[in-house]
């Protein structure tokens, strides 16, 4: 159990742009932090820097109260779960679990106790003597988790551990990981590009883009008050509609429609509206958005209506029994509107 502190951490490759820059983050003891972002945003690099698999070129990483910048991964008291599990193929499950303990010269009785305990927690006791290739994807995933648990480390690091599983198993394992982490109370850092995984697992989300932190906050906080256009578009499914609008005399104008949103200043602005915040309004309603429907996606519980408003794409979520037409009018509450600076992308 320990805190993890990142202090202005950065990573640059020789002569290349920064892969990660100026990340400052305090992870509390027992906290579950999810690093999320599109591929290439530096989230895996950041995790690997905490693990010690990548060198840190700027700043400081502390685990507990120890500066670990120059420590080998094995000395950092962390355990990692990899995307492709990285189980040792020539060892049985039991040997896989015990390997890290054996290397630390722990005595046999203690190793056996910990392996049995972890096997019990993860329900993998029945195949302790099998080789990884005889296991299914989900079982391998459990073994990989077991290898982390037996170490009883200061922190768990997860590098997209569910990406190789099928959709259904992913949902089960997701909640298992969450419950397990709660139960063990181990500080965890989890990397994913899947924003649903990020929302459901995290105590706190760290949204990364191009090697920089866009926003840090609790999942709902990030969802409700995205700090930038990037976060707004990334968190939430289906993603937020981002419309180019203008400010005119304290009102937001979309084309020549005055919207029910008050804002000071002049000039262009980006208006963010979540599809689920749009609801049907009578045709010609004041401040309504008249959408030309292009196509409809049926999700079962609801339907996604894709279309255009004044030449800009718009998606709205409707109940699955809502009537459809070629033209629909949508309205929204002023509180549901997110406004962003059109040039910097930051929240107004």
């Amino acid at each position: 159990m320990a805190t993890i502190t990142l202090d202005n951490v950065g990573k640059s490759y020789a002569g290349d742009a920064m892969a990660v820059s100026n990340v400052t983050l305090d992870i509390a003891d027992g906290e579950f932090v999810v690093l999320v972002g599109p591929s290439g945003c530096g989230k895996s690099t950041l995790l690997r820097m905490i693990a010690g698999l990548e060198t840190i070129t700027a700043g400081q990483v502390r685990i507990g109260n120890r500066v670990v910048n120059d420590l080998e991964p094995g000395e950092r008291d962390i355990a990692m779960v990899f995307q492709n599990y990285a189980l040792y193929p020539h060892m049985t499950v039991r040997q896989n679990l015990a390997y890290g303990l054996k290397n630390r010269r722990m005595d046999r009785a203690e190793i056996a106790r910990r392996v049995d305990q972890a096997a019990g927690i993860l329900e993998i006791g029945d195949y302790l003597d099998r080789k990884p290739r005889q296991l299914s994807g989900g079982q391998r995933q459990r073994v990989a988790m077991g290898r982390a648990i037996v170490r009883e480390p200061a922190a768990f690091l997860f590098d997209e551990p569910l990406s190789n599983l099928d959709a259904k198993l992913r949902v089960t394992m997701r909640s298992e990981i969450r419950q397990l982490q709660r139960r063990l109370g181990t500080t965890s850092v989890y990397v994913t590009h899947d924003q649903v995984e990020a929302m459901t697992l995290a105590d706190r989300l760290v949204v990364l883009n191009k090697g920089r932190v866009e926003q840090i906050g609790a999942p709902l906080e990030v969802y409700r008050n995205p700090a930038s256009v990037f976060v707004a578009g990334f968190i939430g499914a289906p993603s937020m509609n981002l419309l180019a609008a203008t400010r005119d005399n304290g009102r937001v104008m979309l084309g020549d429609v005055a919207l029910p949103v008050a804002v000071p200043g002049q000039g262009p602005v980006t208006l963010g509206l979540r599809p689920e915040d749009l609801h049907r309004a009578p045709e010609g309603a004041e401040g309504g958005l008249d959408m030309t429907v292009a196509h409809v996606e049926e999700l079962g519980a609801q339907r996604l209506v894709h279309g255009h408003v004044g030449g800009q794409a718009l998606v709205a979520t409707l109940p699955s029994d809502a009537p459809l037409a070629d033209r629909l009018t949508f309205a929204f509450d002023a509180s549901a509107a997110h406004l962003f600076d059109a040039t910097t992308g930051s929240r107004i």
Partner: protein
């Protein structure tokens, strides 16, 4: 692809059978020849069916050899060949697996230079550098020694490349997982890499054993002491009798004995050998 055409199948089998016969017939002749008395060859024809002198011939070859022709007993030459083949195979595997480990898993200055130096040895087999190598070995006083027989043949790149390819197929995450599990480079090498390359090592061992066993030119050149003759080079000395007819029944007995160990190695290691060549799952 499954084709059900009896005629095609028959033709295919015919080609295969002819091929097998072509390869097997000389071997058969050698075995048959080694079972006849010397007189059987005086007609100039080689017998096709086995004779009754097998025990006598093999006994003579193992016991006394052909001392007047400069060929020591077979057992000594077989032992020399065995030592040579084993040392070459093990030495090559040891040297190339460690160099491949260095090249794949470490970033050191002049790494690519080292890589190319190893690569260049591919173009310099013993036959090409035979005179300078002989000079070096002679100056080092290694003529007529096991060291002289084996060391010049150990240094080459083929096996390094094979292991490099094997290591490249092992996912990096395995190395990273081992680092997180607290395994240093040597522990990773012994406990993860070598067990994972086991089948490749076996396959390579078979190839290199046969390569070492079949060495002809090099042992012929650097051994003048009967005690260090190897069997493949020894056969040549027997067949090259001065002022007399070669004693074919004895020569063939030696040839048959020279064939047995490589065959045994292949047969015994066939399963791992094939596995090593085709296995891809890591």
């Amino acid at each position: 692809m499954i084709e059900r055409r009896p005629l095609l199948q028959a033709a295919a089998h015919l080609v295969l059978i002819i091929g097998v016969l072509t390869v097997a017939f000389p071997v058969w002749l050698a075995i048959v020849a080694s079972t006849h008395p010397q007189s059987a060859f005086e007609t100039g024809l080689i017998p096709v069916w086995p004779g009754d002198q097998a025990l006598v011939n093999y006994g003579a070859m193992f016991g006394e050899g052909l001392s007047n022709l400069g060929a020591p007993p077979l057992s000594g030459m077989l032992f020399n060949s065995l030592v040579m083949a084993l040392v070459i195979a093990c030495g090559k595997i040891a040297i190339s697996i460690t160099s491949a480990f260095a090249i794949v898993y470490f970033r050191f200055p002049f790494r690519m230079f080292a890589f190319w130096c190893i690569f260049i040895t591919l173009m310099l087999p013993v036959e090409v550098r035979i005179l300078p190598t002989y000079k070096v070995v002679a100056d080092l006083g290694m003529l007529n020694s096991y060291a002289g027989l084996t060391i010049p043949l150990i240094a080459s790149a083929t096996a390094t490349f094979l292991f490099r390819q094997v290591f490249l197929t092992i996912p990096d995450e395995l190395m990273e997982a081992a680092r997180i599990d607290g395994a240093g480079p040597l522990r990773f090498f012994w406990e993860i890499l070598i067990p994972l390359s086991r089948t490749n090592i076996a396959a390579l061992f078979v190839i290199l054993f046969i390569y070492g066993w079949n060495q002809y030119l090099w042992p012929l050149l650097i051994t003048t002491d009967e005690g260090f003759y190897t069997i493949v080079a020894g056969i040549k000395r027997m067949a090259e009798a001065v002022d007399s007819l070669p004693i074919w029944n004895y020569v063939m007995a030696a040839a048959v004995m020279a064939m047995v160990p490589p065959v045994l190695v292949v047969v015994l290691m066939q399963r791992v050998f094939v596995k090593g060549l085709i296995e891809t799952e890591k």
